[in-house]
Amino acid sequence: MGRHLTARRLAVLGIAAVCWAIAATFLLRTAVPGDLRLRHVDSAATFGAATVRRAARYERFGNWDWLASQVATLGVLALYAKRGAAFARQSAAGPIGTGMLLGMVGLALVWLSNLPFGIAQHWWDRRHDASSEGYIAWATGDWAQLGAAFLSICLALVIVMAIAQKLPRMWWLPGALVFVAIGTGFQLLLPYLVTLGTKPLSDPKLLAAARADERAQGLPQIPFRVEKVSDTTDQVNAYAVGIGSSRRVVLWDTLLDGRYSKRVVNVVMAHELGHHSSKHLPKGLAWYALFALPGTYLIALATRRRGGMARAEAVPLGLLVVVALQLAAAPVQAWISRRMEAEADWKALQTTHDPQAARRLFVSFANTDASDPSPPTWAYLILENHPTLEQRVAMVEAWAARQPRK
């Protein structure tokens, strides 16, 4: 009987793994030609030796700071998983309310343990002119995010624990589906939230270029918004948000302060539109679903010895498992993200046919964003969600080399 059950489980697991692999293969398809070979780029010659040294130095600190903060987080959560259930005594609520309290306390401990590293990073950013935000403004600005995180963890625990009370062993399956549904709703809603306080792009030349890019990529008109960040940083950035009718592109106003030509800005816009035309945001949700299913299963498995997620006492251990899984999945997620970014770069080149502007943009990142053109391998594998600047410049050159000579 037991052997029969195990065989059936293995069969189910095998089928699930095959389905997972098929879905992942489908999602990994990219517009970047498979035969594209990137040549080595001489960083010192391309970006300037001094710039490379400065960027490498800047990022090195951030990388180690991050690593230390992760070690601290895991240490704190491991201790919390062991002792945290004692905080249940501080609750007059039922199991779910107590679970919420334990979840929030865990988050508070993680925040506290990360605070010194956050302060250190902010000090480093200010020292390298990556941020001009004061410490108090930085600390107080963080509270709103922290509040949102507290509410999010409560919502997640309400869902998990409520389902787990009904389905103690199988909660992970509907739980994952509910999270994907929430993620989808969030993606629909997010564009309206993040564009609060932004202004529409008003430059007629840029707007005309954006419309041309949209046509070239087979997209309908997508609103372009400008976010004011110049009072806190001079770094440049842009991002694509939303799915379906809520799609938006947001440009930081630092991109439009005159340091960059309209051709360069157009490359950025075409890159962001590339995310939309390649359906990266829905694909991101699909990836989220692919990770959520095994993730929730592993959480359910790990917390069973604490009575399962229906019990508040299991929450501290659940938090540890979540963070450990996130860390374990980070390299894969970074790799997927880099593939998407590379595809958006490729689409930007295909749209603008302006490799000079693209090259200028990527070379400038080493200066404005102090991005290391060639980060250490471990940091690249875990932290880099974009191709390195070397790779991006190499792609520009590879694209140009494939174009017929005029």
Binding site: Q90, A92, A93, G94, M100, L151
Partner: protein
């Protein structure tokens, strides 16, 4: 553990009979001007005398008898004047301390004081001054940047709200409502304690504990508060209290919408059947109880994280709400207007609750426990606010009782001996 009343160095003695002369109530503001001029002159003198007292106490560890007597007289006189102005007492206070007055302060003889507490007295008094200052109202409270000749009226917003409402009530009825009078007593008493401490008349810290505030009689009310809290506070939960309460605030907001709709529906039904239907009563009672739990948690009046359903007996700071009762239809019809004075007092109480939360947060973060005095005045504020909600939601026909009282004690008609002394031992 609370101190013995006899040991308390600052005692407010109240023999007021609540009767008010309508004519003097009507012109109270103008009648008070001459006595406040006297207070102003006296304040100038007291300012210089207390500097001398401070220097002497630093050297000798005690304030000389003559100076102690002078400053005691100053505190007594200003308390009398403020009591008169805030309608806590009826007779004109006159220009001296000769003769008895229905609201008076008794202060012990000078004793040795620890020199370091003398040296830092102004700084040590700051939390108490915040309680007086943040609740400062029309009477004018201490402002450290103000001209030192300014008097310390200090009855506070709560006292001022009570005086404002009491003015109307006294004019109509010729009598000050006991609850409003006792609010004034509490405010005056705490202010007197604070200034006795500041002026080096005692080294006992002022106590906010409402048990000492002379509300010797708490009338039976369908909405009662029960305090079974052990004062212990987990520091981590104190540090993140503002964030930990967020899910409750969201839930409370979501609950408020149907609660308002239910109370409106209940009002329409009650106009016909003269009582709130039981299901609506249960629903609204749970809402009021839940909001009291959340307020307690947020304001550190309660320690543990509350539940989300407002279940009776589920929280150390809990409300007992009696079943629905028959109510006069006229009272039901005009409930929206009748509740306005209670809302004014409730708003004043929210100032107290905020102050309790602010000071209690710091104290509990350092000591891992809440001072009983702060906890109790916070509980009294929550009790009043809950009674106001309950009254406006038709859970009871009985008006909220304004005095900051928690316990029902036997009445003492002869004399209200009010000890407003020290920080209660925790």
């Amino acid at each position: 553990m609370h101190e013995d009343m006899a040991d308390r160095p600052v005692r407010l003695v109240v023999t007021d009979d609540l009767v008010r002369s309508r004519a003097t109530v009507l012109f109270r503001l103008f009648l008070a001007i001459p006595v406040y001029i006297v207070v102003a002159f006296w304040s100038v003198a007291a300012f210089f005398v207390v500097i001398v007292a401070w220097l002497i106490a630093l050297v000798h560890g005690r304030v000389p008898n003559g100076i102690h007597e002078f400053l005691t007289s100053y505190v007594r006189y200003t308390t009398r004047v403020n009591a008169y102005f805030h309608l806590v007492a009826n007779p004109y206070p006159g220009f001296s301390l000769l003769g008895a007055y229905p609201v008076d302060v008794e202060i012990h003889e000078p004793v040795r004081q620890r020199r370091w507490t003398v040296f830092f007295r102004l700084f040590l008094a700051l939390p108490a001054l915040i309680v007086v200052g943040l609740t400062g109202g029309v009477g004018g409270s201490l402002n450290l940047r103000r001209d030192p000749t300014t008097t310390f009226a200090g009855a506070g917003t709560l006292g001022s709200a009570a005086a404002f409402l009491g003015w109307f009530a006294s004019l109509v009825r010729g009598r000050m409502p006991r609850g409003l009078r006792d609010v004034g007593v509490y405010s005056l008493g705490y202010t007197a304690q604070t200034y006795a401490y500041l002026l080096l008349l005692t080294d006992r810290y002022p106590s906010t504990d409402p048990r000492f505030a002379g509300q010797q009689e708490l009338p039976q009310h369908p909405i009662r508060i029960e305090v079974n809290d052990d004062l212990g506070r987990a520091r981590l939960l104190v540090l993140f209290r503002g964030l930990l309460v967020l899910p409750h605030l969201v839930w409370l907001f979501l609950w408020t919408i149907p609660a308002i709709l239910a109370s409106f529906a209940g009002w329409l039904i009650a106009l016909f059947i003269a009582r709130l239907p039981l299901p609506l009563h249960r629903f609204l009672a749970a809402y009021v109880r839940y909001s009291a739990h959340v307020s307690s948690f947020l304001g550190l009046v309660g320690g543990p994280f509350p539940g989300f359903v407002g279940k009776e007996g589920s929280y150390p700071i809990d409300l007992v709400i009696d079943p629905p009762e028959r109510q006069p239809r006229a009272g039901l019809l005009f409930r929206g207007i009748l509740v306005i004075p209670a809302i004014i007092v409730a708003i004043a109480y929210s100032g107290i609750a905020n102050t309790v939360a602010f000071l209690g947060w710091w104290y509990a973060l350092v000591r891992g426990r809440m001072p009983s005095g702060l906890r109790d005045i916070g509980a009294a504020a929550i009790r009043y606010q809950a009674q106001t909600w309950a009254y406006s939601f038709l859970l009871t026909a009985q008006y909220p009782y304004a005095a900051p009282t928690l316990e029902r004690l036997p009445p003492e008609p002869e004399q209200l001996a009010l000890d407003l002394a020290p920080w209660a031992a925790t």
